[in-house]
């Protein structure tokens, strides 16, 4: 029942926001704040109630809590939700980032506040659904549904840039992800069909489709269907075209959501579906996937370096970071997978923080072009300090969560793919370069004017302070995160390496 609340709260909360608009612009904001906080609280409650310690590893994932309701019996579709350490972590992150998304748009969004928060809440709800669903049909539904409110967020509250309108960016985002989603749908149907030919039973249930026997070629095709959908969302380099545009044009809250949780759904999907359902094919595909990861690391860093728009820069940097994630996921060792989880959490904090900073700079200077904002240091108060810490985190300085994640990924993958790791490690250098260049371009140099800008308000400062503290917490004491994800990651690693030994 607790799991259902995670879906009900945001969807109902969103509707309330919309209805409450007529009462005044502040009401929807408060409702949204309460809603996201409730989501976060429910995930804390789940954490308290469930057992997430490392136990024996069986043939099936060990759920801490599960709920199944009938939905479309004719096609074997059930409404099943389940939670284990990984999903719990992600849901908690969703609620947390959701709170920040609401907070950071407090002053930015002034028009159609209710509808804005409706979309925001529905994104949160759908993402929770993605993280909880263990019926492939349900998963796919949420996967696609989360695009629609995101589309509106970008198309209606985004910014037009000189060379691209926000509607174009939103449409590009939608088409990229929807088209790749259709491939995943076909892969899901294929899997169901194969299962049907063997057992004469139609089912979309994750647990029942588990271990369906199929030929290696077919398994590879179906795995690729899943992979492409997740690779678009992650994004992996040849499929990344939508991301800089979407981030560049999205409102701050949209970017925070997009970087903080939406792209994490892709990594989650790989860990939950692509690897466990097709372990052999995934193992076979792993070297190629890792090469894609390395290419993403370098390519993301290089295009980040050449951006002049600060939000696009941060967006491109997340391509680079997710490249590390991809390498770690397909390395498949327990350490590397744990590293991926820590990195996802840390990246959610650091990317959310950086996008919030971008939004705050934009509110003050009314430009996101870095060429027009040199010398901000001393004009914006403590913001430059926070930016420094967030950028240090983003380039993986020890003490921050990102360092722990990246270090574990590289360390854990080394035994599997030493050359890949050596190449990937070089990417860290690039991330240091583009991180420093942001600081250099924005805060130093000749100031455009000497007039002091508005200092950080308690709301803005508090958000950044909290994020920075969390980054340090994850960096200095990653144990909580790792303990939560230990069981699911050990399972994934076990199934994955199990088939690698015996192909």
């Amino acid at each position: 029942m607790l799991l259902l609340w995670l879906l009900i709260i945001p969807f109902i909360g969103g509707l309330l926001c919309w209805c409450a608009e007529r009462l005044g612009p502040a009401i929807p904001r408060f409702i949204a704040l309460i809603t996201t906080s409730l989501v976060f609280c429910v995930s804390i409650l789940l954490f308290v109630r469930g057992h997430y310690h490392l136990q024996t590893i069986g043939d099936y994932p060990r759920w801490a809590m599960a709920v199944t309701l009938p939905w479309v019996p004719r096609l074997g579709i059930t409404f099943s939700l389940a939670v284990d350490g990984l999903s719990l972590l992600m849901v908690g992150l969703t609620g947390f980032v959701g709170v920040f998304a609401v907070l950071c748009s407090w002053r930015e969004v002034t028009q159609r506040v209710g509808f804005f928060h409706l979309n925001l809440m529905w994104i949160i709800g759908a993402v929770c659904g993605v993280f909880l669903a263990v019926d492939l049909f349900l998963f796919f539904s949420f996967w696609e549904v989360m695009l629609v409110p995101m589309f509106f967020l970008i198309a209606l509250w985004g910014h037009d840039s000189p060379y691209k309108t926000r509607v174009q960016a939103a449409t590009k985002f939608f088409i990229y992800t929807q088209a790749s989603g259709l491939l995943m749908l076909l892969a899901i149907l294929g899997l169901v069909y194969v299962h049907y030919t063997q057992t004469h039973e139609i089912t979309f249930n994750y647990m029942q489709l588990w271990g369906t026997e199929m030929s290696p070629a077919l398994s590879m095709i179906l795995m690729l269907g899943f992979f492409v959908a997740f690779a678009v969302k992650l994004p992996v380099v040849p499929l990344h075209g939508w991301l800089p545009d979407a981030h560049g044009q999205a409102p701050t809250a949209g970017s925070v959501d997009l970087a903080g949780i939406l792209i994490k759904t892709a990594a989650y999907g790989l860990l939950r579906f692509a690897l466990p359902l097709f372990p052999a094919a995934s193992a076979q595909f792993a070297p190629i996937a890792m090469i894609f990861g390395v290419v993403s690391i370098y390519y993301g860093a290089i295009i980040a370096f050449s951006q002049t728009d600060i939000k696009r820069l941060v967006a491109c940097s997340s391509i680079s970071h997710m490249g590390f994630g991809l390498v770690g996921i397909y390395a498949g060792s327990h350490l590397a997978l744990q590293g991926v989880v820590v990195m996802m959490v840390a990246h959610a904090f650091s990317a959310a923080g950086l996008f919030i900073v971008c939004g705050q700079i934009y509110e003050r200077t009314h430009t996101r072009d870095m060429r027009q904002m040199s010398g901000l240091f001393g004009r914006v108060g403590s913001m430059s300090g926070y930016s420094l810490i967030l950028l240090m985190a983003s380039c993986g300085v020890p003490g921050t969560g990102n360092f722990v994640g990246e270090f574990m990924i590289l360390f854990g993958s080394f035994s599997e793919a030493p050359w890949i790791v050596i190449c990937a490690a070089g990417g860290l250098l690039f991330s240091a370069i583009y991180s420093l260049i942001i600081l250099q371009r924005i805060y130093f140099g000749k100031p455009v004017s000497n007039a002091p800008l508005r200092r950080l308000s308690p709301r803005e400062g508090g958000m950044l302070l909290l994020l920075v503290m969390l980054l340090f917490l994850v960096g200095l004491y990653p144990h909580t995160v790792m303990e939560l994800s230990s069981q699911p990651m050990a399972e994934v690693s076990h199934w994955f390496s199990h088939t690698r030994v015996m192909p």
Binding site: W71, V72, P73, R74, L75, R112, F140, S141, F142, W143, E144, V145, L147, V148, F151, F152, A155, L156, V167, A170, T171, F174, I175, Q178, A179, L182, L183, L185, L186, L189, G190, V192, Y193, Y196, I202
Partner: protein, 509 residues
């Protein structure tokens, strides 16, 4: 025996009585409202007959179907399609009321014509004989010529009517010639008997022996089928025969466009389905032909819709694409050994039903913001700028319809798409599946365009200048379309969220 006949054709009888009554009422006093109500009751009665037939008469009938001579066969498929055609006609009827309410005269005939046309559609759904097929098709089409040109003072409408008349007549020629050739080759006009006719048997033998094309009768049958496909393809507007679609859609009055896009397609498709299902000896090459047409329709329809600036034209092209998706099921029906994951008949009925629902929902909204007195219907994308901020409910409904047409999960459209994709998977139609994905991806672009436009800030748009929401302030008469819109929107949403009841209904029908 006679009573049985009357029972079997009771939906048709109900509709014809309604048309006659409406005509008599008109002789006494004219008024759109009265005609719409009279016809509306007729549709309801006909629907009641359909439900009665399906629920009580058919289960006790021999072989679960009734025959009316050699011409009609009342069975489950027929009833599902007839029911859908009646619902479509019913909705178009009320759309007509909203649309024509402001026209001072000549409004009544509209409802009778729509009624006749619906009658044709119902007849088509039941027909198993070339003669009844032809009568049904013409009964459906001929009123549509008049309906398309109903606003004769409007140049576009006139053009649409004439264009439809000329091209439709040509298509009918092809169809008739095809039938004649088929008769010459097989010696029968009944679809049921075609299977059993000796000629057919011998042809079957010839096909199996691999002497395809050598026996003259085989070439004749191929020729006949090709001509019939041209004739029916025109009505369905599948790709090489689609040229009339956007122009006629654009010019015809809004409710008529709705009828053309839904009921007329649905009825013709039911005929095509019967031909494919009932004639198992049909050449494999026929299915290759269908596949090619399907792929062309899926890709062509979507590509052509991309840069349209008029929603009616967009819907025209989108209907081409949707028919393309549907033809996947036809091809699967031919090449398929029974017993796949999903039932093909159910998939077709579901997809058509969902498509009809979303198309009607779209037209409901568009009818509410259009009026026959304007130079043209409010169908340009620009007309809809800012609709969300002035009429949030209409815009939300239209958005839902667009999302549903695009096939996003948790809307009705996705259920249809899921079925079609499963059928394609069952029958291993990989090329078709690839085109389905590609077509849907392309299609997203224009559906999204329609959606986004409504949320953009208004720019002195004609809709805003229309007498402030006509549908909302117009009182009882004009709110008909609004009511239909609300009901359809709710159904689309509920079906998307919880499709089980609808599946059960169609599956058990």
């Amino acid at each position: 025996m006679t009573l049985d006949f009357l029972t079997a054709i009771s939906p048709l009888l109900a509709l014809s009585v309604a048309v006659l009554v409406t005509m008599l009422l008109t002789a006494r006093a004219r008024g759109v409202s009265q005609s719409a109500w009279a016809m509306g009751m007729g549709y309801l009665a006909a629907m009641a007959c359909v439900v009665w037939l399906a629920g009580w008469v058919l289960p006790s009938a021999v072989g679960h179907h009734l025959h009316v001579g050699a011409l009609l066969q009342i069975d489950r498929y027929g009833l599902v399609f007839a029911g859908m055609a009646l619902i479509g006609g019913f909705v178009c009827n009320w759309l007509g009321l909203t649309y024509l309410a402001k026209l001072p005269e000549q409004g009544d005939e509209f409802f009778m014509l729509i009624g006749c046309s619906t009658m044709g559609a119902v007849l088509l759904a039941f027909s198993v004989h070339m003669a009844s097929l032809f009568v049904g098709l013409e009964l459906m089409s001929v009123p549509l010529y008049g309906l398309a040109a109903y606003l004769f003072f409007n140049r576009l409408s006139m053009e649409a009517g004439i264009k439809y008349l000329v091209l439709s007549a040509m298509a009918t020629c092809f169809l008739l010639f095809g039938m004649a050739v088929l008769y010459a080759a097989s010696g029968t006009l009944s679809l049921n008997e075609l299977v059993h006719s000796t000629m057919a048997r011998s042809m079957l033998g010839w096909t199996i022996l691999g002497h395809v094309g050598e026996h003259p009768a085989v070439s004749w049958v191929l020729l006949a089928i090709a001509m019939m496909v041209i004739g029916l393809g025109f009505k369905l507007s599948i790709v090489p025969f689609h040229f009339w679609t956007p122009d006629v859609y654009e010019g015809a009055p809004m409710p008529v466009t709705a009828f053309l896009a839904t009921v007329s397609k649905l009825a013709v498709f039911s005929v095509l389905l019967r031909v494919v299902l009932d004639i198992p000896f049909i050449e494999p090459r026929f299915f290759t032909l269908l596949s090619v047409l399907a792929v062309f329709s899926m890709l062509g329809g979507n590509l052509l819709a991309l840069f349209q600036k008029n929603i009616k034209r967009i819907l025209g092209y989108s209907s081409i694409a949707h028919l393309g998706y549907l033809m996947i099921t036809l091809v699967a029906a031919g090449g398929m050994n029974q017993g796949g994951m999903v039932d093909i008949g159910e998939s077709i009925a579901l997809y058509l039903g969902v498509y009809m629902l979303t198309a009607l929902g779209t037209f409901c909204v568009m009818t509410q913001v259009s009026s026959p007195w304007h130079e043209r219907d409010a169908a340009r994308l620009d007309d809809y700028r800012g609709l969300f901020w002035s009429h949030p409910y209409q815009a939300a409904s239209l958005s839902l319809m667009m999302i549903s047409m695009a096939g996003v999960p948790l809307t009705a459209g996705f259920v249809g798409k899921l079925y079609v994709a499963s059928v394609a998977m069952d029958a291993h139609l990989w090329v078709m599946m690839a085109s389905l994905v590609l077509g849907s991806a392309i299609g997203l672009y224009y559906y999204l365009r329609v959606m986004v436009v409504m949320f953009l800030p208004a720019r002195h748009s004609p809709v805003a200048m229309l007498p402030a929401p006509p549908a909302l302030t117009g009182g009882g008469v004009t709110s008909a379309a609004l009511l239909c819109g609300i009901v359809i929107t709710l159904i689309t949403w509920v079906v998307g969220l919880y499709p089980t009841p609808l599946m059960a209904l169609i599956g058990h029908f």
